[in-house]
Structure formats: C-alpha cells, structure tokens
C-alpha cells in the first residue's frame, strides 16, 4: 500500500515515550511521520493537523480527571476544522477502551497493552491477529527431532535387558483391562447395533457392577450425572458469542517450553470454560485428570458426564467434547496409567482426538495404587496402543512426592522411555521440579532451588536424547496458600525451566495447593501472569547453577545407573517394583493392590 502520512500527537503535559516508539516503528515501515512536542496548545495541534494533510492522527493520552472532556473538545476542533474529512483519529493510552474511544469520537482506541503491530495493522486495514489464531496456528510436537538414543553404554545395556525381560514376562498374559480394550476397539469399529450390543454385554462381563449399572440402568456412581444436549448447546452458544482477543504469549523469546495446565474440576463444561480462558492467557496444552475412584473400577463410563467432586470422568464423549471446543492447536493429554483401565483409556483417548497420554508403569504401581503385575501387562499394551495411534506419552515422576529419591524415580522414567522406544512409541520424560520429601530431609535444596532441579535435567540429558517436560506441576511443595508467593514460586521455576531449554512444563494455579476442590479462574491467571513476567524478565538470559550442581548431576547419573543395574538383576520389572528397588516403604512408596491377582 502507499505509505501514509501520520501525525503523532502526545496530547499530554509530559509523556511521549509510547508514541515515540510507535512513530519509530511507522518510520521503519515507510510512513511519513511528524511528531509534535508534548506541551503544545490544543489549537496549535489542530492548526498543524489541518495544514499537514495527514491520513492518520495518532493521539496518546493517559485518562485522568477531566481528560475525557479535553479529548472530546480536541476531536470537535478537528471536526470543525475539516480535518476529520480526510484524517482518521486514533487514541492510545492507559485505560482507553473501544467504548471510550467511540464515546469521545475517535475512530479507534488502544490501551496500554496494545502492540505496535496492532496499531499498524489497524492503519493498514489488516486483522492484527492474522496468522496467530484458529487453524492457521500449528499444533506443536513435543517429540519431533529426538532420537531416543541412550548415550551411556552401561545404562543402555541395563535398559535393554530390563525391557526384554519385561516383554518376555508379559508375553501371553492378559488382564480384564487388556481384554476390555480389545472389546472396545471392536465396539468402535462395529457398524451393526445388534453386534455392538453383544460386544457391550461381553464388555460389561469384564467390568465392575458400578460400571455395568451405568450402562444398563443409567444409574451412575455418586455425584455423576449426564450433561444434557441443551447444556452443551448453551456452552457452545456462549463460546461462540464471546469476542476472542489476541492470546497472550508466555514466551518472550522462542516457543518453548510449552505451558500445560490441569483440567479436572469434575465438570467438563467448567473445564472447557477454564481452558478457553487459559488458552487466551497463553496456555498451550491441558491434562485431563480423572476421579480417583475411576482407577479402582474395572471399566469406563460412557457419555458426557459431570462429576460433582474432584476429577473429570475420562469417557470418550467427555474427551471428544473438550477436543472439539479447544483451539485446534491446543494439545490435550489424557491420564491413563492410574488404576485398571490403562489400555482402554489410551484407546478411547486416541479415538476421541486426544493428542497425548500419560503412562508410567512404575509410578502407577507405587504412588498410584495399581498392582505392579497388573500394570505391567496393562502398561505394555497401553504403550503398544500409543505407538499404533502415534500418541506420545508422558511419564510423570511423581513418586518423588512420596519420598522416593530422585535417582530411583528417574531410573523408573528411563525404563518407561526405553520400553516405548522398543515398542515404537515416543515418550516424554517428566522429572519433577519440586521440593520433595527426600530433598527436604537431606537438605539438597537448602542453599538454592536451582542446583538440584538443574542437576536432574543435566543427568537425564547425559543419559538419553529424549524430550523433557518438568512437572507436575513445577514448584510442587514450594507453594503456599499465599497467592503472590504461589505465583512467584511458579514463575521462578518456569524461568528455570525456560533457561534449561526444556520442552514443556505443567503449571499450577495459585490456589491449587489448598483449594481442596475446583480451583478458581483468577488463581489460574495469577500463575500465568507470573510466568509471563518471568519470561519477559529472563528473555534469553540464563541461570548459573553453583558448582554444587555438577556434583549433584554426577551423583544422580551414577545412582541411576546403580539402580538400573539392580533392576536388571531382578527377575522382572514387577518383581523389582514389588521388592522396592525403585522405591521402598522407607522411601514412602508402597506397591499398589488394585487389580491384584487379575493377570492370567
């Protein structure tokens, strides 16, 4: 387009920094610009505007007492002088809104959060968000570019043997979970209602009574109800009616680490509304967290369901609804490794359009209550399904929160990664950025939170070429009820994650440490604001761990190798877990019992 003539007017006693920045940007783009000094009488400004033949007049002014009338008079003078017949008049400054700009007679208003690009886009008649929203925004991949090669030969040998033993041990074994997954797959493909009903009967024969009651009699577990099509319709209407605004980016430079948040209020509608707000605040992915009771039952519920307690039911329909209403570029992860439905959850998540899943054979057996043998069989099948559907899976090291030392937890993560690589799936390591019990007891973070967290990342990178996603959430056990403290703790840990160039991070809301129930929207935004500020503060600068971090890295690396040697020596992985090689009772880890005796 033809470069335009722009008059920049700081209609303000002093301030002209913002408009100078805009003027410089316009000059770079070939605009002819004139900048007035900030203390000119209004009539003189109008005289120059009338004489200059400008296409655009940009006015900056902070709103204050009596300023509205002053700006109104200014617009009137331009109108009466004929300037508005050929010039648009645009107002920018603190507290300026579109409504206020309209009230004052300006053609457009920009507040202090507007970007220079927004203003230029308006001048040029373009959509300022073109290229940043909707289908044009590309869905990121967390696993692309990683080789999964194990660099440490001793560890590679151990992992090979552990995985081969596990696969041999699981060969020919099945559980109600793996058999239900097979039936679910057939049900999904079946076109005949009669045959599907037959398959469903067979499925319910392998499910607990609670699940069968829901299918057969529409009687749901306590606190669960179906969500009506009208309710879903109203949600969609509301989302369609909301005016979207330009999303905040949580990355000041680059595009990593991706920021994930949990969803699991129990109500998928509440989850979606929270997720839509979080998307606009820069969140790039969500993890659906299911109710704890879902882990204890054989079988999964069907339908769009609300649960009046913690955890959102991971039915295929709930996942599908979330997927449908999230931005296409937003990643959605479904937790599968807890309880008795691991392979089936992966299958349904894949069919419902989820992008990733969550499987950890070790943590699922130690911190999350499932019998090690049961989860070994279910987990191997789940990872096979993840490979078939090209769904990466993350491996949370949350057993550290029970008191398991980091090296044992990290050894467990590596086993899961290697198993995935062997089965053709792509895994993501999730070491904790936390102030876990073992760390507290042994004073590993007495001096700084940086060294030990950095050491975990360094040790894992020395061992394997694999994506790393600290969780879960970062800053776990450093946060308190104080919202400012909590947001700050999250922001510092996020800055550390950024400086360590990890691939993603899961962040908490500021009330997550104490809400004991659904968290509130404001507290979600608290931590995102904190991360945004931390990212801006850090830019491409880094943290400098103390020399102690080198020793911690070496210690972790060595101890991980030692643990894997011990596991390798065990008859099989379930036995290794059951006998405490990856976390024992003294550590606070107890082998789970859900599904005990169900492997056949």
């Amino acid at each position: 387009m033809t470069p335009r003539r722009v008059l920049c007017v700081p209609l303000d006693p002093v301030h002209d920094v913002g408009i100078k920045i805009i003027r410089n940007a316009l000059a770079v783009r070939g605009y002819t610009t004139d900048l007035l000094s900030p203390d000119l009488p209004m009539e003189e400004v109008v005289r120059r505007a009338a004489a200059g033949g400008y296409d655009e007049i940009l006015v900056s002014r902070t709103l204050g007492y009596g300023v509205a009338e002053l700006l109104g008079r200014f617009v009137d003078l331009l109108d009466a002088s004929g300037v508005r017949e050929h010039s648009r008049v645009i107002l920018g400054g603190k507290a300026i809104t579109s409504e206020l700009a309209a009230e004052l007679g300006f053609d457009r208003g920009f507040d202090e959060h507007a970007r220079v690009e927004d203003i230029i886009a308006f001048l040029e008649g373009r959509d300022p968000d073109a290229g940043t929203k909707g289908p044009q925004k590309k869905k990121p991949s967390l696993t692309a570019g990683y080789s999964y090669k194990v660099h440490d030969a001793r560890i590679a040998a151990s992992l090979d043997e552990i995985v081969e033993k596990l696969l041999r041990w699981t060969e020919g074994k099945s559980t109600p979970g793996t058999r239900r997954a097979l039936l679910r797959a057939k049900m999904l493909e079946e076109t005949s209602d009669t045959r599907r009903a037959g398959l469903q009967n067979e499925y319910l024969g392998l499910a607990d009574g609670v699940i069968a009651d829901a299918f057969r009699r529409n009687v749901y577990p306590k606190g669960v109800r179906t969500i009506s099509p009208e309710e879903i319709g109203r949600l969609k209407e509301m989302l369609a009616a909301r005016h979207s605004f330009r999303p905040v980016s949580l990355h000041h430079s680059g595009d990593r680490p991706l920021v994930f948040k949990f969803l699991g209020s129990g109500c998928p509608i509440l989850d979606i509304v929270h997720a839509k707000v979080c998307e606009r605040w820069g969140v790039e992915g969500f993890l659906i967290i299911n109710p704890s009771w879902e882990a204890r039952y054989e079988g999964l519920l069907d339908g769009v369901l609300s649960h009046q307690n913690d955890g959102t039911v991971t039915s295929a329909q709930n996942i599908r609804l979330m997927r449908e209403l999230l931005d296409p570029s937003t990643l959605l992860t479904v937790r599968a490794h807890r309880g008795l439905n691991t392979p089936e959850t992966v299958l349904l998540a894949a069919h419902a359009g989820a992008d990733m899943t969550k499987i950890d054979l070790v943590y699922g057996s130690l911190g999350a209550g499932t019998d090690p043998a049961r989860l070994a069989v279910d987990g191997v099948e789940a990872i096979r399904l993840a490979a078939r559907y090209s769904m990466p899976y993350d491996i949370p090291g949350n057993d550290e929160l029970s008191g398991v030392p980091a090296w044992k937890t990290l050894a467990g993560l590596l086993i899961n990664v290697h198993l995935g690589t062997r089965l053709g799936a792509r895994a993501i390591l999730k070491p904790l950025f936390c102030y876990g019990p073992h760390i507290v007891i042994h004073g590993l973070m007495r001096q700084t939170f940086i060294d030990y967290n950095a050491a975990k990342i360094r040790a894992l990178r020395e061992i394997v070429d694999c994506p790393i996603w600290p969780g879960e959430p970062i800053a776990f056990m450093t946060q308190t009820e104080d919202r400012v403290q909590s947001a700050t703790a999250t922001a510092f840990h996020a800055a550390l994650a950024t400086a360590l160039h990890v691939d993603a991070m899961t962040v908490a809301s500021t009330d997550e440490a104490y809400s004991r129930g659904p968290i509130c929207m404001a507290s979600r935004i608290d931590s995102l604001q904190g991360i945004h500020e931390a990212s801006r503060f850090m830019g491409e600068a880094g943290f400098a761990p103390t020399p102690a971090a080198d020793g911690m890295t070496e210690d972790l690396h060595t101890k991980i190798a030692d643990v894997l040697d011990q596991v390798k020596a065990a008859p099989d992985l379930p036995t290794a877990i059951a006998t405490g090689l990856l976390g024992n009772e003294e550590d606070g880890a107890y082998p789970g019992t859900f599904g005990k005796g169900t492997v056949s």
Partner: protein, 349 residues
C-alpha cells in the same frame, strides 16, 4: 425535524433529557428515530463507573447504532440498512425496533457522517430524529435544527458559573441565518464593493490566518465569511481590526453556532460576539440552529481521589441563578417533567 441534545460536560443529563423526549414524543403519537454521536445507553459510566440512565425504545422506532451495540441491547432490532459509516465499535446500521427494550447507541461521530446517517433515517421514514450528544462534544450537532443544551453540577458546582455560561450559549445561538452563498469549506473570504478576496484554503481560522486575511481587506468591505473553525484569539483579533475601521453594517458570517462555541470558553466567546454587536457588526450563520431549551441536572459525580460517588447541587439555588439570565426556558427534567421540553423541541415553525 432533527433535534440534538448536547451537553456542556459529561453527566449533565443529556440521556435523561433524550429519554424524556422519546417518552413524550411516543405519547404524542410520534415515533422519533434515535442516534447518537458517542456511546450511550450502557449500564455504567465508562469513566466514573457510576450507574447511568438507559435508553428505552418502542416498536416501530428507528435506531442508528454501531453493530457491536446490537447484541448489547435488550430491544429486538432488525437491521434495515448499512450506512457505510464506521466507528470504533464497528459499522453503523439503521435498525427498526421490533420489540421494545433498552438500546446502546453509538452512532456516527463526525459531522459529515451524522449528516449522512440522519438522511438515511429520514429516507427510511423517520420524520423526527433525536441525536444524543456525548460528553461536551458539539461539532457534529451542526446537522440539527434544534438543540437542547444540558448543563448542571457536573459542569460546575457554582451556580453563577453555570448562569454565565448558559447566558453566553444563548447569546451565541441568538444570531440568525446568513446570506453567504459559498458552497465550499475553503478559506476566509472578504467581500468588498467591487471585488472578493479569497484567502488560502484552510478550514482552520486562527490568529495568523485572520491576521493574513485582514491584511487584504478590499475597498467597501461588506462581508467577511469565516467558514471554518475560528479560534478565540482569532476572534479577538477580528474584533480589534474591525474596531480600527468603521465596521458598521459589515456582516461577519460563520458556518454555524457550534463552531463559534468551540472557539473557547463560552463566556469569553459570548463577550466577543457582544462586542461585535456593539460595533453594529451583523453576526450571521450559514446554518443557524435554534436553542430550544436549557436543561440542568443537579447531580454530579464527586471524585474523592480514588473513586466517584453521586452528589447533588441544591436544585432551587441553581434554578434561581439561571432564571434571571435567559429568555430560553431552563428545565430540570426530573423535577419539572418533560412537557415544556417536548413542546419547545417539537413545536411547529
């Protein structure tokens, strides 16, 4: 008839007067069209956050507003026409009220656009159109034939100041139509006995421009046409230069009274025009507007340094201060009712 409701400041009761006129017009069998030059009808003030009066419309009325305001209105509106005018809140449409309710009005915000939109509304059947003002903005009101000026505690808490200002406003509007036959919005023109002097084309007439023009006075000066925006110091210079000659019978023609009102503080501008009259200079407007009434609103938002609260002037004191200085009726709409306001605005002739 196009009737405007302008104000001397924000919160002087423009919307209250507008709503009263809508009610009275509808009660008298007229369905006025409604538009506005700013943004009005919202629940709370954009700056003070205090509650605002809402604009209620009845079925059959036409409303011109920006598209973004349609969804914010509770009245059911059917868009009849896109006007091609765009504001900060989107494209301005003319809509018919199908079911009565509240409307948020954000219409055209400059003179030429208001002229276009009111023509569209007339073409679509609105015989009477009410134009809601915004803050202290008045320039686009030059399109209207009659105007109500709203003032009150939000403009000044001193009744004497309100009296002086409204007296000056009345004086400014009192001058009649001019005979100027110019059609452009070019520069200052000086008409002499034999020749006309046309100055540089600019619709801004400040001190320098008027000084330049007055340096080229033709023989037998009869008329000075100032079609644009005249500043207060320019007006003062014009007075001084005319004083230095024998100006008796010379006509000074401005475009419209709103442009003169914009020249500076009304009291100052009013005094200057008074001096023109005393020199027997005829002040005329190319487009005159009748000042139909002055309304006053005792309410004002009082600022305590952090937030605003509602406060009120003593109505009787304000009324007493204003009563002696006007021939134009002064009305407190909430206290006096709207009959007088309606009859002043809608009277034939």
């Amino acid at each position: 008839m196009i009737i405007g409701v302008a104000g001397t400041a924000k919160n002087t009761g423009k919307t209250t007067a507008l709503c009263a006129l809508i009610r009275m017009a509808c009660a008298n069998g007229r369905l006025p069209g409604v538009t506005g030059i700013g943004y009005d009808g919202e629940e709370r003030d954009n700056i003070t956050l205090l509650p605002k009066p809402r604009i209620t419309v009845l079925p059959g009325m036409l409303v011109s507003t920006s598209e973004a305001c349609l969804a914010a209105s509770t009245a059911r509106l059917r868009v009849l026409k896109q006007t091609g005018v765009v504001t900060a809140l989107g494209r301005v449409v003319v809509a018919e009220v199908e079911a009565g309710g509240l409307v948020v009005v954000a219409g055209p915000n400059k003179t030429s656009d208001l002229s276009l939109v009111t023509r569209e509304m007339q073409n679509l059947g609105s015989t009477d159109i009410l134009v809601d003002g915004s803050l202290n903005r008045i320039a686009p009101m030059s399109v209207v034939q009659r105007v109500v000026f709203a003032t009150g505690g939000a403009r000044s808490v001193h009744p004497a100041v309100l009296a002086d200002e409204t007296a000056a406003i009345e004086l400014i509007f009192k001058s009649g139509e001019g005979a100027g036959d110019y059609t452009d919005i070019g520069g200052i023109r000086l008409v002499g006995r034999d020749i006309q002097v046309q100055c540089r084309a600019s619709a801004f007439h400040g001190y320098d421009e008027i000084a330049e023009a007055m340096g080229r006075i033709p023989e037998g000066l009869k008329e000075i046409v100032l079609p644009g925006m005249v500043t207060a110091d320019g007006l003062a210079l014009l007075r001084d230069r005319l004083q230095a000659m024998n100006p008796e019978g010379v006509s000074v023609i401005f475009d419209n009274p709103f442009r003169i009102l914009l020249s500076g503080e009304p009291a100052v501008v009013g005094r200057l025009l008074g001096e023109f009259s005393r020199m027997s200079v005829n002040v005329r407007y190319r487009r005159a507007t009748t000042l139909a009434a002055i309304t006053f609103n005792p309410y004002y938002p009082a600022f305590d340094g952090t937030s605003y609260r509602a406060a009120y002037l003593e109505s009787a004191v304000v009324r007493a201060a204003l009563a002696g200085v006007h021939s134009t009726p002064v009305i407190d709409v909430l206290a006096d009712g709207a009959e007088a306001l309606f009859s002043r605005c809608f009277a034939e002739g």
